[in-house]
Subunit: 338 residues, 2 copies
DNA sequence: CTGAAAGCGCTTACAG
DNA sequence: CTGAAAGCGCTTACAG
């Protein structure tokens, strides 16, 4: 238990000695570089394992190899979008093969610059920039290592970005409602200057139009809060044609909608269906009834970003914005299930 | 691609040359080590600044100095407790002075061991272990670098841990209710084998007893969900003495309680006051009415852990479990405010 | 296929 | 107070 400082003792020289080869050969054998006799390779691998050899990544980095580290630069850790993306990144990076430096700039550009310098000083193999919204963000410009932008995409088309396909999210939400027989669909959304609001609306509109329909009432924009979800729903229910479904651009809005509908004693999903976007389980699973919603698959987004970064560090060139799809998670707020 | 690679060009040798001193002296000047003439020190600092010198931390680490990195090992990133702690850690580490490797073991011990090896291979200066509950967790044993346990404390008293004072959390929640005139207090909690449930109950009991009171009905244990919060509240309201306050051991429970009370048309806080614990703002601010709750001050917890680690890396010896207090955040569910 | 040598960029005793 | 020298643990051309 105590006493033994696991690997700090064992160096490549020890492994080489035990395997009866030179350090250079040991290095090549362990790194699958150039040609090494199959027999010696095995001998070295065995020696390394027996000795519990763990390479010193500092030395590797200094000697010019990859450091096995990437920087993840977020601008808003508090938000609930960064975390799933982070988990996806870590997942794709293979647990212990590549480790991630997590830095949160907190929306401060000066801080962001300092963090980038700090990451470069540690010779990271690449950087993943996680934005807080699905809108464009300023490019970091030319850096000595590859960069991939996630969620928020870079405003420079020459950069590589991976984000969410908001249009598709809106479309499949609407399709789900249409597919379950709804025809008088209302729409509650967040801030109108967010691409998330605009593009989801666009996707939903397209879905309706393809059925020769339009929204039952003009879409309502506000902020992304439960309170606005409640207020907007009051508006919808107290005037104009009563909808048979409400498509909410976020789960918070949807939860507000459900609460307002419940207050009026109206049944969900019998009289009105409600669908959200986010699959924020803490909200969606606990609402009454449980909320049908669209999952943005953020972990997959993070994994994809990590894969793109790995290819880039391997020298592959790529650029542009890649948009990933989401999928509907069916619970009870749209369709009655047993 | 190449063009300008900001700092990769400038080395300590460049700085030394420009300042007209040897690399050794430049190193000492920059690191405030041993005695260096004030004039030369300034000269070196100026040269470094002019050249935009950023030390290569890999080289520093190899040469035996600190690496300016710490590992943060979580066992459950998905939970909502790890993130604020993380933010606090990063905050205390001074943004760009010390960077953190974030690793999530996902409750897997094998994975945890591999991650620790990966961290040690990168020569981190120390490790912070963030647990998912406030109960004890297995010690990592003796490692070549200092370790601080947060939230979950180590089962080895020889380790250094920082966690939350659950007894105090329960006590101040009860004190707040008592202070606002409540006398018939009920208690809804989570799983009875969690120290969070037991110790909060204990703290609340002590507060009541100091006023010569006891709970209005036996405490109810279940899981930590909104659904249980609703169900338990139904129980309280449909039988036995009606309470004038419900102390919930989490915000999810409290939100469930509020929903059930609202369903019955009972007024909060007029007829029944409700208080939670967590200050999970997404829940607390959006409930009706907004939820009074106890904030565990997790960011401060993270900052404290980072400070303790820094002291430990500086060679200071310390051990034992430190328990930090929380504070009441007053909203409308306990006291009527304008 | 294998090894001797140089070097990555720093820091730290050790002399002066 | 300053500097020459050795070394941290690896990798990578370059010879054999």
């Amino acid at each position: 238990m105590a006493g033994e400082m696991p690997e700090s003792a064992v160096s490549l020289v020890d492994v080489a000695r035990r395997a009866g080869v030179s350090p250079s050969t040991a290095s090549k054998a362990l790194n699958a570089r150039s040609d090494v006799n199959e027999v010696t390779r095995t001998r070295v691998e065995v020696a390394a394992r027996e000795l519990g050899y763990v390479p010193n990544t500092m030395a590797q980095g200094l000697a010019g190899a990859k450091t096995g580290t990437v920087g993840v630069l977020t601008s808003d850790l508090e938000g609930r979008f960064a975390l799933p993306i982070l988990i996806g990144v870590e997942d794709a990076l293979g647990t212990d093969r590549v480790l991630t430096f997590l830095c949160d700039a907190r929306g401060d550009e000066v801080r962001e610059q300092r963090l980038i310098a700090a990451l470069l000083a540690r010779r990271v193999d690449g950087i993943i920039v996680v934005g807080r919204q699905t809108d464009a963000r300023p490019s970091l410009g030319k850096l000595p290592v590859p960069v991939v932008y996630v969620y928020a995409f870079s405003d420079d088309e020459g950069d590589l970005s991976v984000t969410v396909d908001n249009v598709q999210l809106g479309r499949i939400a609407a399709d789900h409602l249409l597919g379950s027989g709804r025809r008088r669909i209302a729409h509650i959304s967040g801030e109108a200057d967010h691409s998330a609001a605009l593009e989801r609306l666009q996707g939903a509109s397209e879905a309706l139009q393809s059925q020769g329909l339009d929204f039952a009432s003009p879409p309502l924009f506000g902020d992304w809060s439960e309170a606005w979800g409640r207020a907007a729903t009051e508006l919808l229910l107290s005037s104009g044609p009563v909808p048979d479904a409400i498509l909410c651009a976020s789960d918070q809005l949807a939860r507000g909608a459900l609460d307002s509908i419940r207050d009026r004693g109206i049944s969900v999903p019998e009289d009105i269906a409600v669908i959200g976007i986010d699959n924020w389980t803490a909200l969606a699973e606990n609402s009454r009834p449980a909320l049908t919603t669209v999952d943005m698959q953020l972990e997959r987004l993070g994994r994809t970003a990590a894969y793109r970064l790995q290819r880039a560090t391997a020298g592959e060139q790529a650029s542009g914005v890649e948009r990933l799809s989401g999928k509907v998670i069916i619970r009870n707020s749209t369709i009655l299930r047993r």
